[in-house]
């Protein structure tokens, strides 16, 4: 893709994002950038603020402080209408797919197409076929979400996220619950899209194999702070014991596992 179509060298830039729920800082001065065509992996333990971070980036939540730039446009202070315009340029794959149960698979994928532009229904139908083929679900248009498996729902969610040919793709746990083959399919798809279409992706995941397979950049969140950032090689070589424990999946290490109820409450309530 030509560089001239972009306003900013970064597809996504997050500066000093801070958010507290009550006294607890869930996000603490989080900053990072994603260049066009890059895949950024956000890693971190459960409850380390990854989903919260993603919700701030897509504009569902507003931060206490800090800015989020989507291709140079600051979105944290936009109103709903302006935000809707920016959102048309990105796709989001939700953890559970978030498909509409009352619509068929095909209608789900067609929804953003029909709602955002004056596309004729037969063109939309064609696009739906293409997108479903992309995720390996040709011929599933007429099934309802309740009739397909969890992994398939996720792939339909992916097809829907790609329906409008977004510049930026957000994935919340795209491979959780998928078998290894389907994980590889989704991974290859994500890499292909960035290489061939110049799309950028931000992926939240716990799956280390998949993360190292597709990442061009990685950040590691721990208790709301970015404690490591870099290329996959740099992350692998990073001596931080918390990070190493996470990458290697060791049960022993500095990440606290057994908390007493009192400690947990203290951590929740203290700044």
């Amino acid at each position: 893709m030509s560089e001239t179509k972009h306003k900013s060298p970064y597809a996504l830039e997050v500066r000093g994002l801070t958010r507290s729920f009550g006294k607890r800082k869930v996000l603490d001065n989080v900053s990072f950038q994603v260049k066009h065509g890059e895949i950024l992996i956000i890693m971190g333990g459960s409850g380390c603020g990854m989903s919260t971070l993603l919700r701030h980036i897509i504009g569902s939540l507003k931060p206490d402080a800090g800015e989020v730039y989507i291709d140079g446009t600051e979105i944290t202070k936009l109103n709903d209408l302006e935000l809707a315009k920016v959102r048309k340029r990105f796709g989001m794959l939700f953890q559970t797919g978030a498909l509409f149960n009352s619509l068929t698979v095909g209608e789900n994928v067609a929804l953003p197409i029909l709602e955002s532009s004056d596309v004729a229904p037969h063109i939309a139908e064609l696009v739906v076929k293409l997108k479903l083929e992309l995720v390996g679900l040709t011929g599933f248009e007429h099934l309802k979400p309740a009739q397909i498996s969890g992994g398939m729902k996720k792939r339909v969610g992916m097809a829907r996220a790609l329906a409008l040919d977004p510049d930026l793709l957000f994935c919340d746990e795209p491979t959780a619950g998928l078998d290894p083959v389907m994980t590889a399919v989704i991974d290859t798809l994500t890499v292909d899209l960035t290489k061939k279409l110049g799309l950028s992706a931000v992926v939240v995941t716990h799956d280390m194999t998949s993360a190292f397979r597709i990442a061009t950049q990685m950040i590691f969140l721990f208790e709301g702070k970015v404690i490591a950032a870099g290329t996959p090689e740099e992350i692998k070589a990073n001596p931080n014991p918390i990070l190493q424990q996470f990458i290697n999946g060791d049960a022993d290490g500095p990440i606290p596992l057994k908390l007493s109820k009192d400690d947990y409450l203290k951590r929740l309530l203290q700044a």
Partner: protein
């Protein structure tokens, strides 16, 4: 809470008038409205009919018991006609719609909220108020008077049926008595109530659905709250409108 409710209602009404999804660019929004009109209205018809039928019987029998003492059993016709059109018809219809459709709206929207579907709409740049709330609210407002007319018809018929069979009243005389007893004003005041009930139930049910938090438990709690609030709001509105109509018209 009241502020959030007002905001949602204003936004929904603004969407109805400003964007007029009825005549929107894509015709299938109209089909969303029709779907809701069927779910809320057409599917409620048997229950609304049954409830009104039973209450028509009750009204006639109860009235007969009192009028008999005065030797004026004929007055049953007046009582049934007047109270069905003015009060019982709109009221019992609203109660049925709240229990059937109001709760369904809250539960459906709440489940969508919990399953991230509403957030997904937002992220796709689709306004959930326009897409989900407007068809439901509009269907409520349109179908409540329709159901009320239907219910009133069935209620009046039930009153007539029990009067001519069990109470041995003259069928023709009963009808002419009924017609004499009511004016157009009575019919319209009942329908006006129905219109307001529809708007209230639609907005309250959607509001509780859209603000659900915390999984299946949240959906259950919100549905209960929605039904209770719909009922109390509807009764309060009924009292207010009855008073207003009495003094103003």
């Amino acid at each position: 809470m009241l502020r959030a409710y007002t905001e949602l209602s204003l936004q929904a009404f603004a969407s109805i008038f400003a964007h007029s999804p009825l005549f929107g660019q894509r015709g299938w929004r109209l089909s969303a409205l029709f779907d809701q009109m069927v779910a809320i209205g057409v599917a409620s018809m048997p229950t609304v009919g049954l409830a009104n039928f039973l209450l028509g019987i009750v009204l006639a029998i109860q009235g007969a018991g009192q009028f008999e003492k005065l030797g004026a059993t004929d007055m049953v016709a007046n009582l049934v006609a007047f109270s069905v059109l003015r009060e019982i018809g709109p009221l019992i219809t609203a109660v049925i719609v709240i229990g059937r459709s109001g709760s369904a709206i809250t539960a459906e929207l709440g489940t969508m909220k919990v399953a991230e579907e509403i957030e997904a709409l937002n992220v796709m740049g689709i306004d959930p108020v326009k897409y989900l709330v407007v068809p439901r609210l509009l269907a409520m407002i349109l179908m409540m008077p329709v159901l009320t007319v239907l219910g009133e018809g069935v209620g009046l018929f039930a009153g007539w049926l029990i009067s001519v069979t069990a109470l041995h009243l003259n069928p023709i005389f009963y009808v002419s008595n009924s017609i004499d007893a009511v004016e157009q004003k009575d019919l319209f005041s009942g329908l006006l109530k129905a219109l307001f009930f529809g708007a209230a139930v639609g907005t309250v049910a959607c509001y509780y659905g859209m603000q659900v938090e915390g999984g299946a438990e949240g959906v259950g709690k919100a549905t209960t709250k929605s039904v209770v609030t719909c009922l109390t709001t509807m009764l309060a509105m009924d009292a207010l409108l009855t008073t207003l109509i009495y003094f103003v018209l």
